[in-house]
Amino acid sequence: MSHLSLLLDLQPAAWHDPTQSLQFSTFLAHILVFLNAHLAQKHENSLAIFGAFPGKSIMLYSSIDQTKPADRRVQPDPNWYQPFKTLDAALTERIREEMPQPSTSSEAEELPVALVGALAKALCCKIIQATKVEAPSDTPVVMPESRILIVSVSPDAAASYIPLMNSIFSAQKLKVVIDVCKIYGPDTTFLQQAAYLTGGSYIRVEKHESLLQYLMMCFLQPPSVRSLLAVPTTDRVDFRAACFCHKDIIDAGYVCSVCLSSGSDCF
């Protein structure tokens, strides 16, 4: 069994931009099919979806805890597998609730999305789930091999560098693979490092209309299968740090021996 945590970068500015070739509705549809495909893989596959909104991160859906009333409220549909229906209904509903409208919250858009929070929560859930799995006995239980898929549209938030790296390292310790699917915006160095350090793959979707195909071929298979069916891995990661004072990326500079704050010529 494998566990997938999906991190959706829901930056309204990016998604409500009419000029983009990929509309949010279609994007959501693709994601839903992808999630269904993941659930379809095995009866035991589990799923957790987190939304990174400007300034806050929310768990949108989790197949682990059945406490959610949403499960039962949806009427069964004779033409659709029940879990799929539950998931889709719940997810779309939650996103509609949480997604800030661009017109209403203009100042909220200024904030970068809370990717770190979402990532941290995803890891917490992973560890909790792990402890839950191991609860019955101390035998080497078949731990669900879990991975995290980050669908990112917004650029790096230099402010969140350190916490982001910390959570990446903990993911490394937990052997959680982090995949990154970049849809809009410039390549994010931080996420590239995340993918590189955890052995995931960082893929930039060029042709948006075939997003689903990208998802299916690159991000669906669990790590154990990747050793047999290769996936494009990260190329050209850049390991430059951010200058602490101007927050811009430097490739050679000075590092304080005490606090390790790195800077270019500014000090």
Binding site: M1, V33, N36, A37, A40, Q41, K42, H43, E44, R72, R73, Q75, P76, D77, P78, N79, W80, Y81, Q82, F84, K85, D88, P136, S137, D138, T139, P140, V142, M143, P144, E145, L212, Q213, M216, M217, L220, Q221, P222, S224, V225, S227, L228, L229, A230, V231
Partner: protein, 498 residues
């Protein structure tokens, strides 16, 4: 610590490697043997596609998924490009399986999924269509108005606990009947249909009755007795057992004039149903209505009464396509997915269970000494093992059973079972067949070495020589070779005379 002189018993697979050496599901070969038209019909229903997809191995699944959303065919090289070096072999076998079950008809050059499969599987993922292939939920009239004012359905028919207990009770009735059939104790008999199935599958055989063997009578009256196949069956995991029975059921389908595709469709529909929900049998075909009763006997389906207009699948049914232990507590509660057996180097065995079925199974090869509320103490003795061996159980099966049901405490030590006990069990098995016998003829008293040589060579050609001794100038050949050898010799003697 000295290693076992024999092959280690297969340890539980770790998730990493599990992806690579997954044995194909028992159903896959059966599907492969089916006709193309049948499969194509099968693939018209989304639920069946989903279920079959789940039975496939991880690589097959990935291949299907990669191809699913492509409109046109792609060159096979494109996909080969993704395969790593160590992935080649499993990839090849995966393609083979897929083509055999007609999902990927000809993977040789251009890859294109079976159109029906593609269409319905897409439908399964995205929803839609009007095939009702995931079962029509039962909606009573008052619930209908309840929905209208949005209150949702409050009553869910039976709750899952009740379903579990029911399924467990039914299932263990069958197994328990098998176990204790040899002994004098007479537990409650499963329904006639089940008995017939057990007998047909060769898991049980009728006691030789003076009236002479006849299916009709033996089905009703004569006492059934478990066969060696049955004993082996008992040591399998519930999941395997269930599928073995179902496969047998499928094999019997034709002679019962049932439509195989409909049967499969129904099974797969059950497997995708929602536990604890009630479904209405209205739009089931005649065949499937018949199945409804059979499966009720096996404990896959629960109905308030045979005539009721609704049914709900039990966990046995809904987890058909999963690999998890079928019933949350497959017996007695305190065992669960974890094991319950502790085996010591001194051949003593402690089983933390109060489940009569498990105790009965243990009784097959363990000499049980004392019984406590939740603990059974026994020891593996030569006699107890020999009894099992005489019943046709093999040593490996005993060992694998002990391994799979070993108590968490045991999993710490490696090898999991005490090596002494393992080897001893195997030795006892060897000891049983110290004497091998073969019918045949001893050819001896050859006048000339040449003759001997010629005949021997010929016999070797047709591969019937079991023993030879050139000094004594004689050899032993199995009976079936005799006619040929005699013929050969006669021909030669003719040649010599002329």
């Amino acid at each position: 610590m000295w290693r076992s002189a024999f092959a280690e018993p297969s340890m539980p697979k770790d998730p990493e490697t599990a992806g690579q050496q997954d044995a194909p599901h028992t159903l896959i070969p059966f599907l492969q043997s089916q006709s193309q038209t049948a499969l194509t019909r099968l693939y018209t229903r989304p639920s069946s596609c989903l279920a079959i997809f789940r039975l496939l191995g991880p690589i097959e699944r990935q291949i299907v998924m990669s191809l699913l959303w492509l409109e046109g065919p792609i060159a096979s090289q494109t996909l080969n490009g993704w395969v790593t070096k160590e992935g080649r072999k499993p990839y090849g076998t995966a393609l083979d399986t897929l083509s055999k079950i007609q999902i990927l008809p000809n993977p040789g050059t251009r890859m294109l999924l079976n159109p029906n499969f593609k269409a319905s599987f897409r439908m399964a993922l995205t929803g839609g269509g009007d095939l009702n292939s995931f079962g029509v939920p039962y909606v009573s009239s008052k619930e209908k108005d309840a929905e209208r004012d949005g209150a949702g359905d409050k009553k869910f028919g039976p709750n899952s606990e009740h379903l579990d207990s029911y399924a467990l009770e039914r299932w263990e009735t069958i197994l328990h009947y098998m176990v204790s059939s040899g002994t004098d104790s007479t537990p409650q008999r499963p329904s006639a249909g089940v008995l017939y199935l057990l007998q047909r599958s060769g898991l049980m055989q009728p006691l030789p009755s003076p009236s002479g063997y006849s299916t009709a009578s033996s089905r009703k009256t004569s006492q059934l007795q478990i066969s060696s196949l049955g004993f082996q069956f008992l040591l399998h995991t519930p999941h395997e057992q269930l599928w073995e029975l179902l496969l047998q059921y499928l094999k019997m389908v034709e002679e019962r004039q049932m439509d195989l595709v409909e049967v499969l469709n129904f099974l797969f529909m059950l497997s995708t149903m929602d536990l604890g929900r009630e479904y209405s049998p209205d739009n089931l075909t005649q065949t499937q209505l018949v199945m409804l009763e059979d499966l009720r006997d096996y404990g896959l389906i629960w109905q308030r009464k045979s005539s009721s207009k609704r049914f709900s699948p039990t966990r046995l049914a809904t987890t058909l396509t999963s690999s998890t232990p079928l019933l949350p507590s497959s017996g007695g509660g305190n065992t669960g997915p974890q094991g319950f057996i502790i085996l010591e180097t001194n051949y003593r065995l402690y089983a933390y269970t109060d489940n009569p079925l498990q105790i009965a199974v243990l009784n097959l090869f363990v000499h049980l000494k004392s019984r406590y509320p939740n603990l059974v103490v026994g020891s593996i003795t030569r006699d107890s093992v020999r009894k099992a061996l005489n019943n046709g159980i093999r040593a490996d099966q005993i060992i694998s059973y002990l391994v799979t049901h070993a108590h968490p405490q045991m999993r710490r030590n490696n090898p999991l079972l005490p090596v002494t006990v393992q080897d001893q069990i195997r030795l006892w098995e060897l000891e049983k067949n110290r004497l091998k016998s073969a019918d045949g003829y001893l050819y001896t008293n050859f006048a000339a070495q040449a003759d001997y040589q010629v005949v021997l060579d010929y016999a070797k050609q047709i591969g019937v020589v079991l023993w030879e001794n050139s000094v004594k100038r004689c050899f032993f050949a199995s009976a079936e070779g005799h006619s040929n050898i005699r013929g050969f010799i006669e021909r030669r003697s003719k040649d010599e005379q002329m």
